[in-house]
């Protein structure tokens, strides 16, 4: 029932076919690798931080780095990214400090950023509801004659939601420059993709919106990059949205609060771990002679150092003042808020104002 990435026919691949992607030189290939290592390190450290009680419940994205880095590298900096919670650290690829994302998982208001600073929308917690936002942004940019496109990440489970359908349909109708990027990792918590749809493949849904679709190996960063770049070029050229289905397998729990042993095929998980996306790319780069032990160690250490200083910075952040309960709930707040805050301060005591 669950999709099997390796060996599954019809998936676009680059690494396993030992192809090269046009336009990607050594520099670009290493930048992609740096991004994957940054994400991998972020994810692995976050699980540790969670176990240490330093961050709250955390949605793991281990083995999704190829999808995330491959897709984002196909964009220009002016293009917008709409993440789901699975892509919570995607802002790192746009220069967002790790501390900001760690704040978010620590439940601190400093974890919210200005989307316009990075062209990265806020992390979307409810499933698929960010899809119409991305369609609206892409359509709105097009109406203004601007160059920007949008890319929205969502999972296989999201394709069952009405919001996915409405967003995809709007994007098709208005020919919005949008990449609908589906991270099909086979599982929505414990529900396999085969229980989400009777369609043979999620990419089949593209036909219903009159838009092109492509199905790639989600563990192959270069295949993801290549397919997304084509989608972005189409969008920028006025060709409207594209559905990209990146097929992978969730080799980690849904989140730190989840124990998947009750429902996943553990053998299949082991198999996926042996062939996880970072290792696959490393072996490719080594075959090409681009990556050696020293460079790998340097890149991994840089990422680790970024995380060490990120968690230190996050933990040094003072507690949020209770005024942040009220701040920014409205651009133009009602008078009652000031009175309520004053009363709360009085009851809580002290003069922290």
């Amino acid at each position: 029932m669950a999709h099997v990435a390796q060996g599954e026919p019809g998936l676009r691949r680059v690494i396993d076919e030992d192809r090269e992607v046009d336009g990607l030189g050594e520099q670009e290939l290493l930048e992609l690798y740096r991004s994957m290592i940054l994400l991998r390190t972020y994810d692995e450290r976050s699980v540790v931080y969670h176990r240490q009680g330093r961050i709250g419940t955390y949605a793991i994205f281990w083995n999704h780095e190829a999808m995330q880095a491959g897709a984002v590298h196909a964009l220009e900096d002016g293009d917008w990214i709409f993440p789901s919670y699975r892509e919570s650290a995607i802002g790192l690829l746009r220069g967002m400090p790790p501390a900001t994302v760690l704040h978010w998982w620590r439940g601190h208001p400093a974890g919210w950023w200005n989307p316009a600073d990075y062209n990265v929308a806020s992390i979307c917690v409810p499933i698929a509801t960010q899809v119409p936002h991305a369609a609206g942004l892409a359509w709105g940019k097009k109406l203004k004659g601007e160059r920007a496109c949008a890319l929205v990440f969502f999972g296989d489970g999201a394709t069952s939601e009405g919001a996915f359908h409405e967003g995809a349909n709007f994007a098709g109708v208005f020919q919005a420059p949008l990449v609908l990027f589906c991270n099909n990792n086979g599982w929505a918590i414990s529900t396999p993709v085969g229980a989400q749809t009777h369609a043979d493949a999620l990419v089949d849904k593209a036909a219903g919106y009159g838009i092109p679709g492509v199905r790639v190996d989600g563990g192959d960063v270069l295949a993801v990059y290549e397919a997304t770049r084509e989608a972005v070029e189409r969008a920028r050229g006025g060709g409207g949205p594209t559905f990209v289905e990146a097929v992978s397998y969730r080799a980690a729990p849904h989140a730190t609060a989840d124990d998947p042993r009750a429902y996943v095929d553990l053998e299949r998980v082991e198999q996926e771990k042996q062939n996880e996306c970072v290792g696959r790319y490393e072996r490719y780069l080594r075959r090409l002679g681009i990556l050696g032990d020293d460079l790998e160690a340097t890149i991994r250490n840089e990422a680790l150092e970024a995380m060490r200083s990120g968690i230190a910075e996050a933990e040094a952040e003072p507690d949020a003042d209770i005024s942040l309960l009220f701040d920014h709930a409205y651009a133009n707040p009602p008078a009652s808020h000031a009175a309520e805050l004053a009363e709360l301060r009085r009851i809580l005591g002290g003069d922290s104002g």
């Binding site: 917008w80 208001p109 919210w112 950023w113 200005n114 989307p115 316009a116 600073d117 929308a121 806020s122 917690v125 409810p126 509801t129 899809v131 119409p132 936002h133 991305a134 369609a135 609206g136 942004l137 892409a138 359509w139 709105g140 940019k141 109406l143 203004k144 601007e146 949008a150 009405g162 919001a163 409405e166 967003g167 349909n169 709007f170 109708v173 701040d327 920014h328 709930a329 409205y330 651009a331 133009n332 009602p334 008078a335 009652s336």
Partner: protein
């Protein structure tokens, strides 16, 4: 009122070229009630957009349009058809400004015809204001006169926060009065004394305001009745509510929505908290019932009426 809204749209779209109207049948048809008539011809299909039939998609894409620099004015074709958009309203529209720590504004207007008494099929008659008022980050206004419809629409469009504008369809066409020409704004958060009186205050909004005025007429010679038109449900003009309660000491709240936890309950709670010593009797409510809005052959029995309002006022006067 429809002409006033349409006039308001023409003024606001001409005034600010980032204002974009979107919804089902708003363009070519000019809206099923004609509120957006002529906009597409005058401002083009990109400023007055016929969308697919998808309320959550309309409001969801409006969020993205804001991020791209637009001020979207969305139309939900009818009150009860707006419910799919509550998902976006609650999970995103009311929260996104806060999420960006104030960095981005989401000046979205969600407007819709609402309310009963129009002899319509099922689910064309609801009064959903409480769902919207209960959503943090969202403001709610309801006009009861053509001038207020134009002025509150302008205020909603220019406001930096999301505003839901509920338009009482019962009086779309049958309440006629003067409307100021050109640029005209009625600020949010200000109630209006529709009629001055000394003995009892009838508090209402939307189509219940003219009904309360008729009830006031019916009580002429018996009591001097004040009618307070709330106009903006959130932020609420508590000062005007408390001032009127203080003056008359008797308050009847009239709403056509079902009684339980309706907006009238919020008004009554404010009076209980802040006007208790001014009141000479309990705060009474005349409302719809906790039942699905009825088929129209019996809807008159559901809707608040002059008789029910007069009855409540008399109970209070005799208390």
């Amino acid at each position: 009122m429809i002409e006033a809204l349409n006039d308001g749209f023409h003024v606001e779209l001409a005034r600010d070229d980032s204002v974009l109207v979107m919804g089902e049948d708003v363009g070519r048809a000019g809206g099923v009630f004609r509120a957006t008539a002529g906009l597409q011809e005058r401002f083009g299909a990109d400023r007055c957009v016929d969308t697919p039939l998808a309320e959550a998609g309309i409001l969801g894409t409006a969020v993205g349009l804001c991020m791209a620099g637009w001020r979207p004015v969305t139309e939900m074709q009818y009150d009860a058809f707006s419910y799919p958009c509550l998902d976006q309203l609650i999970t995103h529209v009311g929260r996104y400004h806060w999420r960006t720590r104030g960095a981005m504004e989401f000046p979205i207007v969600v407007r819709m015809p609402y309310g009963g008494g129009v002899r319509a099929p099922e689910l064309h008659d609801d009064s959903p204001e409480t769902y919207y008022v209960h959503t943090p980050g969202v403001k709610v206004a309801i006009p009861s006169t053509p001038a207020d419809a134009k002025g509150l629409l302008a205020a909603a469009i220019r406001d930096p926060d999301p505003v839901v504008l509920l338009e009482p369809k019962l009086i779309y066409r049958n309440e006629r009065s003067e409307v100021p020409e050109g640029d005209y704004v009625v600020p949010l958060g200000k109630a209006r004394v529709a009629r001055e009186g000394d003995d009892v205050t009838l508090v209402a909004y939307g189509a219940m305001v003219p009904l309360c005025e008729r009830a006031a007429d019916a009580l002429a010679g018996e009591a001097s009745v004040e009618v307070l038109d709330i106009r903006t449900l959130k932020p609420l003009d508590e000062d005007s509510l408390l001032a009127s309660a203080s003056k008359t000491g008797r308050v009847v709240i009239v709403q056509e929505a079902p009684r339980v936890a309706g907006f009238g309950a919020e008004l009554a709670a404010v009076l209980a908290e802040k006007a208790i010593l001014d009141l000479r009797g309990p705060v009474l409510r005349v409302t719809g019932y906790d039942v699905p809005y009825p088929y129209w052959k019996i809807e008159d029995a559901y809707m608040p009426s002059v008789e029910r309002i007069v009855d409540a006022a008399r109970k209070l006067l005799a208390f």
